[in-house]
């Protein structure tokens, strides 16, 4: 099979193990040692590829957040917007609820 794009223009200095751990923390993910090594390699491959954007001159361009030209959309909040869920519907998929509220893990220490 022929592919025109070189996948392996590797540049082995883009990321460190520490970076991967930091990213995992930002993304609230826990990784095994094996995963850390794998993702280090794989993310470097990807970063090497996307570096090709440097070939393009974008000095005079404005960034596009999206492709459409629609203006801002406003609507009144509240039950009349038709999207509101009942309390039961809101809670139906939660693992832990109490007195009609979501129960969340403790975030502050008792001490």
């Amino acid at each position: 099979m022929k592919l025109r794009y070189n996948l392996f223009m590797t540049n082995r200095s883009l990321l460190s193990r520490k970076d991967i751990l930091h990213l995992a923390k930002l993304a609230n993910l826990s990784l095994t040692n094996k995963e850390i090594e794998e993702y280090l390699d794989q993310l470097e491959d990807t970063l090497s590829y996307i570096d090709n954007l440097k070939e393009l001159d974008t000095a005079n361009l404005l960034p596009a957040a999206r492709s459409s030209n629609e203006g801002n959309i406003f609507f009144k909040d509240g039950i009349e917007n038709g999207r509101a869920l009942t309390l039961n519907e809101t809670l139906q998929n939660a693992k832990k609820t109490k007195d009609g509220l979501f129960q969340i893990p403790q975030i502050l220490n008792d001490k």
């Binding site: 993910l29 590829y49 492709s67 969340i104």
Partner: protein
């Protein structure tokens, strides 16, 4: 009454003239799903309905399959991830709501790459879908379950979603019709968010007319999706009939690196377009290799934001249930959005997005549509994708520019490659001009009957 291979339009006529009962149609497809789904793994959830929906509306009694990232009230919706293994949506997506209101019924929910991250349906936590043409091959993805279900006629039509290639690529690999509408043409409300500035729901069908019929039902402004457009929809089905003569653009940048036997099919298709009276004109477009980078950066950034909500508190399981692909994408997104890298990656990609949008706008001053292959190669063996973490993006190279620009595109079968696998031809159109790409695809279908690809796909799966 022989139902095998009947399109939505055929079934509408049969149901309308009472030659066939709605219940019969429902039972027929349920039976086929039960017979073939254990082999294909196209459906994750099947809806055996005792009660028939009200038989009113343009799609009265027509069953359809829907990708498992559309929220369906009361029907399990997983996005093929164990994070949402038991998630029962308390509301209906706008797309499924509109189809149900038109009288259609949900046959089941189809397999996909988990969170729609992928191009092979192999990242599904519920196992890969098999390509109905060759069970050792991938159907493509992420809407692989929807595509396979249509290809093997387990459903007369399916709804998929595309962020960049997820409708067109599996449509091409399984030999069916796949339409990606313009961004904003079809509401994203109730679709499990992936790349929010790209996500487009669209139909996978056996015929171009069916794609036009379904688009007519699902398209149009939705107050629940701020990015859905106010631009009026058209009567897509009626507009198929006008014999338009068009200027068709082809870009050499899109023909490079293609597998030779696919390239031959595209060239043959171009000759057919000429024979039909259309003019072929060469245009120059930015190399699609840059689109891969733009897409990778922006989409990962949007993924890292969209997947942040899965904390296992309000619904679903906690974040330890994420599989490898979601983790990789989330972390890359966090990286490119990080302080110090934002300008180099995210902002740069947004600027190149502007460049791609302008590139297409310039091209559409000279041509009515742009034609290219849907994929550079035909369906790969299962397992190939896992070897390269970035491989899916390369498979979608010809789909990503249109996705980034937000223009509409349709993939239709244009023959078989040297291994007998289906080849897809895509027609890209100007913003909100779905009518023109459907029109040209319809002309192509009438002239070629897609070289018998649809029929051959179904013939392997007799009743």
């Amino acid at each position: 009454m022989q139902i095998l291979g009947k399109s939505i339009a055929d079934l509408q006529a049969l149901i309308g003239s009472r030659k066939i009962k709605v219940k019969e149609v429902q039972q027929y497809f349920l039976k086929r799903v039960r017979k073939y789904n254990p082999t294909l793994n196209a459906f994750l959830t099947v809806q055996d309905q005792d009660e028939m929906s009200p038989i009113n509306g343009v799609l009265a009694g027509i069953p359809f399959a829907v990708k498992d990232n559309f929220c369906t009230k009361g029907i399990r919706t997983t996005a093929s991830s164990c994070v949402l293994d038991q998630f029962i949506p308390p509301y209906e997506s706008t797309v499924t709501m509109r189809l149900l209101s038109a009288g259609a019924t949900i046959l089941g929910k189809t397999n996909m790459d988990a969170w729609a991250h992928g191009s092979s349906t192999e990242t599904s936590d519920y196992g890969p879908t098999k390509n109905p043409w060759d069970l050792t091959r991938s159907p493509g993805g992420s809407s692989g379950g929807s595509a396979a279900a249509v290809s093997a006629y387990l459903t007369p039509a399916a709804i998929g979603s595309e962020t960049a290639g997820s409708i067109r690529q599996p449509a091409a690999w399984t030999g069916v019709v796949g339409l990606k509408p313009s961004y904003g043409r079809v509401s994203r409300y109730g679709v499990i968010a992936m790349g929010s500035s790209f996500d487009c729901p669209g139909p996978l069908t056996l015929t171009v007319k069916d794609a036009a019929i379904l688009l007519g039902v699902i398209a149009g402004k939705d107050p629940f999706d701020g990015t859905s457009s106010n631009i009026p929809t058209a009567d897509y089905k009626t507009m198929l009939k006008a014999k338009k003569f068009l200027t068709i653009g082809i870009a050499k940048e899109y023909m490079e690196g293609m597998e030779e036997s696919l390239k031959l099919k595209i060239e043959e298709s171009l000759r057919i377009f000429q024979k039909l009276g259309h003019r072929i004109k060469t245009v120059s477009l930015l190399s699609p290799k840059y689109a891969i980078s733009v897409y990778t950066i922006i989409q990962r950034a949007e993924v890292s934001s969209n997947l942040a909500r899965y904390d296992g508190i309000r619904y679903g399981n906690d974040r330890t249930f994420f599989a490898a692909e979601a983790k990789r994408r989330t972390m890359l997104g966090a990286y490119t959005l990080s302080f110090g890298y934002y300008d180099a990656y995210y902002k740069k990609a947004q600027k190149v997005r502007t460049l791609i949008v302008e590139d297409f706008k310039r091209a559409f001053k000279d041509v009515d549509v742009i034609v290219a292959a849907s994929t550079p190669i035909s369906a790969l063996k299962l397992g190939e994708f896992a070897k390269y973490p970035f491989f899916g993006e390369l498979m979608d190279v010809l789909n990503e520019p249109a996705a980034i620009a937000g223009i509409p595109a349709i993939s239709v079968p244009c023959g078989q490659d040297k291994n007998g696998l289906p080849v897809g031809l895509q027609i890209m159109g100007n913003y909100f001009d779905e009518a023109t790409i459907l029109n040209l695809a319809f002309q192509f279908e009438k002239e070629t009957e897609f070289f018998g690809v649809i029929k051959k796909g179904i013939a392997r799966y007799q009743d």
